[in-house]
Amino acid sequence: MKRGISYTAAFMTLLQRDLRIAIRHRGDIFNPLLFFILVVTLFPLGIGPEPQVLTRVAPGIIWVAALLASMLSLERLFKADFSDGTLEQMLLSPQPLSVLVLAKVLAHWILTGVPLILVAPLLAVLLHLDGNSYGALMATLALGTPVLSLLGAIGVALTVGLRKGGVLLSLLILPLYIPVLIFATSAIDAAGLNLAYDGQLAILAAMLVGSLILAPFAIGASLRVSTN
């Protein structure tokens, strides 16, 4: 069967389209980032400004804020395409849905995950993160945030057709985020104590590879359910 354009071309077209749309609505990129910064700012005010306390809790705060920011930004991943019918056209296209979905998730990660990784060291300075932990922080965020985008997209795809999806989405995907949170923060803690943390990084990388392979199929199946 003739498929029109190749998989790579379809992937790149969709990726460029999503990036271009996002650049024209810059608020969509900056709002989750501002949310991330604000949540992190709240913690020193809430638990007190002592540097020792902040050093201890900094990895957890940064990661929890990253989870919430990622979840908040994910909500719009399929929303616009769903309401204007683009999503149905994607489902009907001859290209496999998992390729298209992967392009959308990658675009989402470039727009929300990468800025978050770039701004994280700055927040780590504000939270007096241990000097040894910066490498681990960056490595876990680089490996972990794509996993968040991929797993979260499953939940978003399941709830895109619902009107009251927001709260439900957090119930669906936060439990799936927990393993990422545990291994990421334990890697940063280990780095702070000058211990080896490549084991935790290897597990995070395994999660990334696993979800990169399996999640697009789950997302595709969920989208077919949601659009019926």
Binding site: L158, L171, L172, P175, I178, V225
Partner: protein, 248 residues
Amino acid sequence: MWKWLHTYADPERAYKLSGTLLPWFACLAIAFIGLGTTWGLLFAPMDYQQGDSFRIIYIHVPAASMSMATYMAMASASFVGLVWQIKSADWAAAAIAPIGAIITFIALLTGAAWGKPMWGTWWVWDARLTSELVLLFLYLGVISLYASFEDKVLAARAAGILAIVGVINVPIIKYSVDWWSSLHQPSTIKITEKSTMTNEMIFPLLINMAGFGLMIGAITLVRYRAEILARNGMRPWVRELATAEEAK
């Protein structure tokens, strides 16, 4: 070979079969749990370290192991429903989910009650306890996703995908005590080698585990019958059933 099984995908036959099975499951569950609990609580020997408070094991361990088994049952039913498009399997998954959530909650609650005298704390954030808590959240996610769709055919498919994605958590719970150093003790019941408990202690435990399984089966059948009736309200056989009930 599996042809005979397909006839039970028909809602009416599934309803009748679950009606026939229900008294068996219910009676056996009462007998097993009655025997296991009395034996365990009154006649099993006392633990030399933990004294009498170890006896909560006869509720805690069956609930905990069945919480995982129930999840697998729900996910398998969802898988059958998704792959072979059998609606009665979807209804079974929907019927199982709330039972699993309650059983998981019981396991967490009895675990906390056991932890207080033994570890000196209600709760610790270790691998097994946390992953069991995640299991509870997964159950709640499946239940609320199923509840939030108007169209129950779509609801079952969506909840089914979530249930299958969540299966990844079950082996994590099962092996958490072997993989991580945990405050929770490693499993004492071994299938392939000799268990680390004496026979007088372990027999009532095994009986109670079987009893919990049967009890969950019985409650599932009750809920499954209700689910079938709710989803087939417009079918003539359900109407006949309802008019026959009214005439009584």
